[in-house]
């Protein structure tokens, strides 16, 4: 969903018409931030998921401030902050570190990447995906990605998956999430067959919170997914395939790939996403990029 839009603020917030593009009276732009806030609140109330209030707040504030400053400098306007908010909150949830500085650095790098790593006016990486990967590669002694189950109350989990699916459906991105989840399960069978590990062990990760955020927020980001429906389905299936290759590298203990298998889906997306975007932009060369 929309984590990475760079748009002038007026177009999005001041004159929001309640129309076919809106849902329960809100512009679709504000659904994702509300939803991710909902996940955060529900997660924290039921499980106490936050590493600390301060770290999450730091990640959000750093993302917002960076977006405001860079937007002002490079677009001459105060940009809408919903995408920066999602980036910040994603960092606050997905990154795990007892230190403060990784949260600040990751948020700032995430937002900056939108302004620096651009091709034909579009950025290639999902912002928080980029920031988290940088930290995982360069500071593994200090940070890790969220990898553990928050808890086991079934209702909150069910609500998050159902509500997330509805929102994604409204945003016309459900094909991405469904393809990914289906691919994950299929590849889990394959991995189980190859490695001999229990199938439940292979599907266990997708029942965790990192995947909820990945499936609803990261892999569906409109600004870092390709332009055609078919293309998006193919790309996300390839993401799942690359993830499986990384996971098999973990199963077979390939030491060279060890930095990758600490967080397979995030790293798979960071590899496949930009290549797909570059390919898509190249394919559309000559067509103005919105």
């Amino acid at each position: 969903m929309s984590e990475s839009t760079i748009q002038p603020v007026r177009a999005a917030t001041l004159d929001v018409p309640v129309s076919r593009g809106s849902w329960i009276g809100l512009n679709n732009r504000y659904i994702p931030p509300l939803f991710i806030t909902f996940i955060l609140v529900v997660g924290h109330l039921f499980y106490g998921i936050l590493e600390s209030y301060e770290r999450t707040a730091l990640a959000i504030v750093c993302a917002l401030v960076t977006e405001l400053v860079l937007g002002r400098i490079f677009f001459g306007k105060w940009l809408n902050l919903s995408s920066a908010y999602i980036s910040g909150i994603s960092v606050g949830i997905l990154l795990r570190s007892p230190a403060f500085w990784p949260y600040a650095l990751c948020s700032v790098l995430s937002i900056m990447s939108k302004y620096v790593l651009r091709v034909k006016g579009r950025h290639l990486w999902n912002p928080s995906n980029f920031g988290i990967c940088v930290l995982l590669f360069l500071a593994p002694e200090t940070v890790a990605a969220l990898s553990v189950q928050w808890g086991n109350y079934k209702w909150p989990l069910l609500v998050i998956w159902i509500l997330g699916s509805v929102i994604i459906y409204r945003a016309k991105r459900i094909h991405i999430s469904v393809t990914y989840v289906a691919s994950f399960f299929a590849f889990a069978f394959l991995r189980s067959w190859i490695t001999g590990d229990p199938w439940f062990a292979e599907v266990a990760p997708i029942t965790g919170p990192m995947y909820q955020l990945f499936v609803f927020f990261m892999v569906t980001d409109p600004r870092t997914t390709v332009s055609t429906r078919r293309g998006r389905i193919v790309v996300v299936a390839i993401v799942a395939l690359v993830e499986t290759l990384i996971r098999l590298a973990g199963d077979f203990q390939l030491p060279l790939l060890r930095p990758f298998y600490v967080s397979p889906p995030i790293l798979a997306l960071s590899i496949v996403g930009p290549i797909a975007m570059w390919w898509d932009l190249r394919r559309k060369a000559g067509t103005p990029v919105s």
Partner: protein, 598 residues
Amino acid sequence: MSGRKLARIVLVVVFVGLISVPLVMKKLAARRAQANATIGEKAALNRYGFHLEEVAKASGVNFKHQAPTLDHRLDHIMPQVASMGAAVSVVDFNRDGWADLYVTNSGEGSKNALFKNNHDGSFSDVAADVGLADLNQAGTGVSMGSVWGDYDNDGYEDLFLYKWGKPELFHNDGGQKFTRVTEKAGLPAWVNANTAIWFDYDRDGRLDLFLGGYYSEDVDLWHLKNTKMMPESFEYAKNGGRKYLFHNLGDGAFEEISQKAGIDTRRWALAATVADLRGSGQQDLFIANDYGISELYFNDGKQFREVGNETGVGFSPKSGMNASVGDVLNQGRFAIYVSNISEEGVLIQGNNLWVPRDGTTGDAIKYDNLAREMDVEIGGWSFGAQFGDMNNDGTLDLYLVNGYVSADRNQNYWYDFSKIAGGNSTIISDAAHWPAMDGRSLSGYQQKKVWLNDGAGRFINVAQAVGASDVFDGRSVVMVDLWNRGVLDVVVANQRGPLLIYKNHVTQENKWIDFELEGATSNRSAIGAEVRLFWDGHQQVQQVSGGNGFCSQSQRRLHFGLGKNPQIEKAEIRWPSGKIETLQKPTSGQVYRVKESA
């Protein structure tokens, strides 16, 4: 060049600069780590004021821990399930003034050991002679740890042995023999426990006992009903063992009162410690839980209330495996050290050093985790830790052992572990769903930490430099003056590994003073008594402990390092009964044996 273009160049430069921040920080950390390079004994003595020499075999101690073999349905993950049980506790069981060691074993049919101090640098295992060896017989479970306390106030320390199995109480018959009194005490038939603490929670002069379950007590790990005995969540599990608080009735029997007293939790307790954290005179209870948050129970005399969240120590769930208290800042207040798991790139929980926040006290006390600020945060897969002044410079240092499963050095189970750790309860709680370990290591061969307190709020790891260079899977660690020299030696129990005795050689320039307390109105072991020492403008508080760290109990004697040429003002003793006695101007280099006035 246009302004926008210039701004873009600046942006790229800043971007690249920020990306390099982690690398710069890594370089700085590497520079700090150079302090831990291996150096000679003389250099260590000059630079840090002490060095350690491993002398177990030379002292006649040749003990190797054996792990249990549990139900065959756990074979595929046996190394990580059968991963505890190496434990050591300190006792002077025969009251000869020299510290002895009790060491647990965990193989079915294996023998525990009681190493009697021969006063000449050697030890003899007398466990079989006194009736404390053959305690791991099939069908009774296996030992996990032990704590000593004089529950009947007869002057001799009695033994409580906790197991994954039948807990046992042994009465010390004048330092000659031990009599099993489990039935008379009324202990439960089966508890899968990894922590127990003697303390007098109601200050009636008799030691009570806290016992913390890990696996649920209805699980017999040798005869599983099913394989759904694992934690339901990696960080939010509440399907562990129940807790027990045994109130000492004074006639050899104990009454279990945990629920009545307000201790009702099924988190997976791995460690507990007790201390007067609020200055209330009452003994508060801290529990470090695996797979979840820590719990802190304020003791209101008869009733406990859980205040983990309010005080700040029970907010962020981790994998608590140690609980020890120490006055790390010489401010007359206890900080609490909890060890957790850190594995590069996979799981960085960081250990916690809970320091009381300035200006907070009593029931309103709050804690801040200063482990990062004080550099005692990253310790690998950490287990037992103990505070103690290792170089007698007047500040408490910290010794941490670590390492979970050391098997094939080239094969790592972490990836497999991380798959299942994220799973829903129906997956993670069933051992059948866990990937096979196939001989892989899980945070194995880790270097220990000897964190030296610089007295200014920072610790520096000098383990390699001072000679603590083993990489066994450390579990339990104690500090004890084994040879009555006025120094703290270190004893480490390793899972599937040898018992290590590190003899401490300390610079003679730094002075010390020790206190050995005996209660009269209070429990005779004086467990819970505090000594507050004032010297050279410093103060430090220590307490007699009925068990702390991970499955361990250090010596009851309180050891204070004093630095060079100390001028001691006074030692203030606060007994569990509430009485306060003061020794004016005690002399350094002495062991003060103090009996509570009646």
